[in-house]
Amino acid sequence: MTIKLFTLLMQAALYTLGISIVSIVIGFAIAILLSAAMLSGKGIYIAPARLFISFFRGVPLLVQLLLIYTLLPVIGINVPSIVAAIIGLSLCTAAYQAENLRGGFDAVPKGLVEAADVTGFNPRQTFFRIRVPIALRLTFPALVNEAIMILKSSSLVSVVGIIELTKMAQDLSSSTYLPIPIFASAGAIYLVINWAIALVAGRVERSLPKVTA
């Protein structure tokens, strides 16, 4: 392991981090939409949302990524590698985040929702001002876990042409014939990023107001 190799890994790790962060954020927005659909009580919203969650939880990310990369052009949407990677990760994490949020929404005290209704909140206000913040607070640890999962899953996006940390490690391993130090270093980088996420998340969580279901 030379400094040069390690620098290359660190540069690739920036890709990993960037793609993961963007995907988590987009995935969260989609997850909120999915939750809204699930809570709407209307079949025409619930059915597609349920199908979405079932599909993206049920198919390996590797397969999803290939589908997005090579199937979308067939229906006229040709996206470059980076977009395909972000779409794949976002949709996948959206399904998982929606599942997590569902638990949170279920735990939002009924009384609070009723109180909001009585006070004259319209359903959208109740959803965004009461249900979402409380559900998010309740499921925050699960969200952090999911962020870590996505960071790790981003190791698969090289199948659509992105050179991120794992792919870089693979390339370096085959040109230097040093699999152990290189893969171990790559693993260590993932670990450090994940620990950092957990540390920051812990701080954030402590600063959030306490909610008991």
């Binding site: 090579t70 040709n78 199948v159 085959s174 040109s175 699999p179």
Partner: protein
């Protein structure tokens, strides 16, 4: 309401613009590439010495070749690197204009794709661990574990060859040839079957660890780049053909071959009836 109306206008304008643009755009691949100033090339970066990653950098004969081609055409080259088994499907899906690879020019591929003028020989041979005396000629791989790349013509040739041997070869298919070299070093396979220019390069690079077993076992074949077969791509494939022949005549291709293979190949201008 206002918002919705605004959205409609934007979408409508965009659609109109899109139609107008595509109507005015040049109507074949080469003209579009020239207009865009970018040629998108798909490849796999685990196929030394054509495309590989050396200390984090994408290098190889393909990179040099397309740099020359880009200079002549006046466009930038944009590389898209995928695992080999999705390189050709992604060409068909329109992810890029042409595939570097290169790929062995075979009968099966000519049915599906247009292959450009050969840039090197592709005849398949065996590479073994240096000093392995149990393999001295190709037929010695009968009944033994041999590595090869997934979705490659080398795999098809190895299968065909295996069927002629008294004992079938235990074929291990790898995502990339790089992985098969790693397993040859580890000892999970006793040989790797790949084209001569590739294994000659790898054997030299890994000074002393690997050895090429000559002669090759496969039929004499050649490497070319791969384009789509439709009319739209014809101008592009023709252009790459002309460029290859031009570079061959003015000595640039020979220099590249010297640089990357350490030897020059005599390649025909076109392959219409491949041996395999």
């Amino acid at each position: 309401m206002l918002k919705r109306h605004f959205l409609k206008t934007v979408v409508g304008t965009a659609l109109l613009l899109g139609t107008a643009l595509s109507a005015h755009a040049a109507d074949d691949a080469l003209a579009r590439i020239k207009a865009a100033g970018v040629l998108k090339v798909g490849t796999e970066t685990a196929f030394a010495p054509f495309d590989f990653i050396d200390a984090g950098e994408h290098v190889g004969l393909n990179v040099d070749f397309f740099a020359e081609l880009g200079k002549d055409l006046g466009v930038k080259i944009e590389w898209v690197a995928l695992p080999w088994d999705s390189v050709l499907p992604s060409l068909e899906a329109g992810k890029y204009d042409i595939v570097a690879g290169p790929a062995t020019i075979t009968k099966a591929r000519l049915e599906r794709f247009k292959m450009t003028s050969p840039i090197a020989e592709a005849t398949v041979a065996i590479m073994k661990k240096a000093g392995d005396t149990s393999i001295t000629k190709p037929e010695d791989i009968a009944g033994k574990a041999v590595g090869v790349g997934k979705a490659t013509a080398q795999l098809e040739q190895l299968k065909e060859y295996s069927a002629t041997l008294p004992k079938k070869v235990d074929i291990h298919e790898y995502v990339s040839f790089n992985d098969s070299y790693a397993d040859l070093a580890a000892g999970r396979v006793v040989a790797v079957a790949n084209s001569l220019p590739n294994i000659a390069f790898v054997a030299k690079q890994r000074n002393g660890a690997f050895e090429v077993v000559t002669p090759g076992f496969g039929k004499k074949t050649y490497f070319g780049f791969i384009g789509k077969k439709d009319d739209d791509s014809k101008t592009l494939v023709d252009y790459v053909n002309e460029e290859t022949i031009k570079m061959k005549k003015d000595g640039r291709l020979g220099k590249l071959q010297e640089k990357w293979f350490g030897t020059k190949f005599d390649t025909p201008d076109a392959i219409t009836d491949p041996a395999f």
